[in-house]
């Protein structure tokens, strides 16, 4: 496994969360969280409802600012950066409740996510010269390529919110990939899916990770999905990390069983 090799070689992790706390008044949604994700690793983050998984997600993506602690991505601190700046550094995400751009087509949803890599300024957009046309063409080609990889190309002119649920999830992943991330955060991608769709999703996540050589952090409720694909799993409960390890270790961890099933 690439990640193990890296760890042994002493390479620094891609994402490193050190002693992060998020407090809303007196409530600590996440407290003293330590988490590290290595290049090319598929990591799972699980926990019962209200354990702070989504807060941890919002922490990484810059929606919340840690009350205390440090987050480093690719060797640099990302604390206090706005979400769009963090995306520019190479962290992309999907949403628990699908947030596609409703008035844009499938194609434009993906194209819109390419925006931040475009160089042309307002004068190019107004003059509409050759440089502008070339860059637009390059983007269109890239979008089509991405859509083809994920078998959404035949739907490219369809309105995004008219797609079947599974395809919308897939489109969200494609859209996130269009920002050229190094780390992909998936927030409950299996929510609301039937078993067949879940199997399809597991295959899709594996495929994506290998094809684009990404690190993936997966927040998920569905144990079968998490256990099936994650190399390492961290468990949150009441904002604290209670366990971390391989799926096998987590399955047999007493604290985890307690948190999920009660004593």
């Amino acid at each position: 496994m690439a990640s193990l090799v890296e760890k042994e070689a002493g390479m620094s992790p891609l994402l490193e969360i050190n002693d992060c706390t998020v407090a809303f008044g007196g409530l600590k949604a996440v407290s003293e969280l330590n988490l590290s994700i290595h290049q090319g690793e598929l990591m799972g983050l699980i926990g019962p409802n209200g354990a702070g998984k989504t807060t941890a997600f919002n922490l990484i993506t810059g929606v919340y600012r840690p009350t205390d602690g440090e987050i480093r991505f690719d060797g640099r601190s990302i604390v206090g950066r706005r979400p769009y700046q963090i995306t520019a550094r190479g962290i992309a995400r999907t949403f628990q409740n699908i947030r596609l751009f409703a008035s844009l087509s499938v194609f434009d949803n993906v194209r819109a996510a390419c925006n931040m890599h475009l160089r042309h300024g307002i004068s190019h957009a107004l003059w509409r010269g050759d440089a502008f046309a070339q860059e637009e063409k390059a983007v269109e080609d890239r979008v089509m390529e991405l859509l083809e990889i994920f078998h959404l190309d035949h739907l490219c002119n369809a309105p995004s919110t008219g797609l079947p649920y599974g395809d919308q999830r897939r489109l969200e992943i494609v859209r996130a990939l269009a920002t050229r991330p190094k780390l992909l955060l998936l927030d409950e991608p299996a929510a609301g899916m039937n078993p067949t769709e879940k199997q399809e999703l597991v295959r899709l996540i594996r495929f994506t990770q290998e094809k684009f050589k990404l690190a993936v952090l997966l927040v998920e409720h569905d144990m079968r999905v998490v256990m099936g694909i994650c190399e390492r799993i961290a468990v949150l409960d009441y904002g604290m990390k209670i366990a971390e390890g391989t799926p096998e270790e987590i399955r047999n961890n007493r604290k985890v069983i307690e948190a999920y099933l009660g004593e």
Partner: protein, 332 residues
């Protein structure tokens, strides 16, 4: 040369040709024609903010006022001196007028920047209230500035606005808005409108896009204000009040949020409508109460808006595709 620019040039050439005959047009129709042009500039520019970017602004008349007063102050206080310095001539006069218009636009854009940066953190109703407040502040400020006539209003000596300048501004406003919308910026505007959280997560600096839409919108509102001032030759702070902003919002809503052709049509329709109603109200055959009601444009506007929201919330001219398909089916 590509298509949008060709269209722009063809249109500009056409209005330039047409403007040679503007003296032959009946003054009443000429007035309506110019008002339509100004309303197109206002509607299309507000549509960039309210329609495409989804930021509900009620302060467009405020920006119009800034543009009107800045350009009027230029032509009254500065231009005569500059004109004397360069020896005069009608070409120099026209150039200075264009300069004054652009200065008015930039003044309004600056005001847009000053209002936009702090207030665009707000959403929906709150932003509407702040922009409404801004419009009122501008009005009261002008009212208390003696240098530009205060509450007495300001007279502009020469009628500089003509067919060419008005429709040049309209064409430019449409060109700029359409070009922006069909580029990365347009995608950014629509992303901000659809879902700000997701837009940020896709690497979009939402503040930048919102401020940009606001500033471009304000710039053209300023230009429209300058055109208005140099057409009516008299501006008054009361003329740029809340009701003027509402007039422009009605154009945008009637035309359809984020539908530029629709907004142009609505600007034309809503400029002609009061004139048509005036003619209707003059008909002796109608009962007096009905004639009184017809004369009050605001009552009709309100009814129109209520009816529109109930039956066509997407705007009168949006979703034209359906009718087009129906027409094609009939033809086939």
């Amino acid at each position: 040369m590509n298509r949008p620019k060709t269209w722009l040039l063809v249109f500009v050439a056409l209005i330039w040709a047409a403007s040679w005959f503007q003296g032959a047009i009946n003054p009443y129709y000429f007035d309506i024609l110019i008002t339509i042009g100004i309303n197109i500039v206002l509607g299309v520019s507000l549509n960039l903010v309210n329609g495409y970017t989804g930021q509900f602004s009620l302060g467009h008349a405020g920006f119009m006022a800034v543009g009107a007063y800045v350009s009027a102050a230029m032509t009254i206080f500065l231009c005569p001196r500059w004109l004397a310095a360069c020896g005069g001539g009608s070409t120099a006069e026209s150039a200075l007028f264009l300069g004054a218009l652009v200065a008015g636009g930039f003044g309004a854009a600056l005001a847009g920047l000053a209002v936009g940066v702090p207030s665009l953190r707000l959403k929906g109703d709150y932003l509407a209230i702040v922009t409404l407040g801004f419009g009122e502040i501008i009005r009261v400020m002008v009212q208390n500035t003696e240098a530009v006539g205060g509450s007495r209003g300001l007279s502009i000596p020469a009628r500089e606005t003509g067919l060419f300048t008005t429709y040049l501004a309209a064409a430019l406003a449409v060109y700029v808005v359409v070009s922006l919308v069909h580029s990365t910026y347009g995608r950014g505007f629509l992303m901000v409108r659809d879902d700000e959280v997701a837009a940020e997560a896709m690497g979009i600096n939402t503040t930048k896009y919102k401020v940009m839409a606001f500033v471009v919108g304000a710039f053209f509102a300023g230009i429209a204000g300058g055109l208005y001032a140099h057409f009516k030759q008299f501006i008054h702070p009361e003329g740029f009040g809340f009701l003027r902003s509402v007039d422009i919002v009605v154009i945008v809503i009637l035309g359809g949020m984020g539908n530029t052709p629709g907004v142009i049509l609505a600007a034309i329709l809503l400029t002609i409508l009061p004139e048509g109603l005036r003619a209707l109200a003059a008909l002796e055959a109608l009962p007096v109460w009905l004639r009184g009601m017809i004369q009050n444009r605001m009552i009709l506007y309100s009814l129109l808006l209520i009816g529109l929201m109930l039956t066509r919330p997407q705007g009168l001219f949006s979703g034209g595709g359906k009718w087009l398909r129906w027409w094609k089916r009939r033809q086939a």
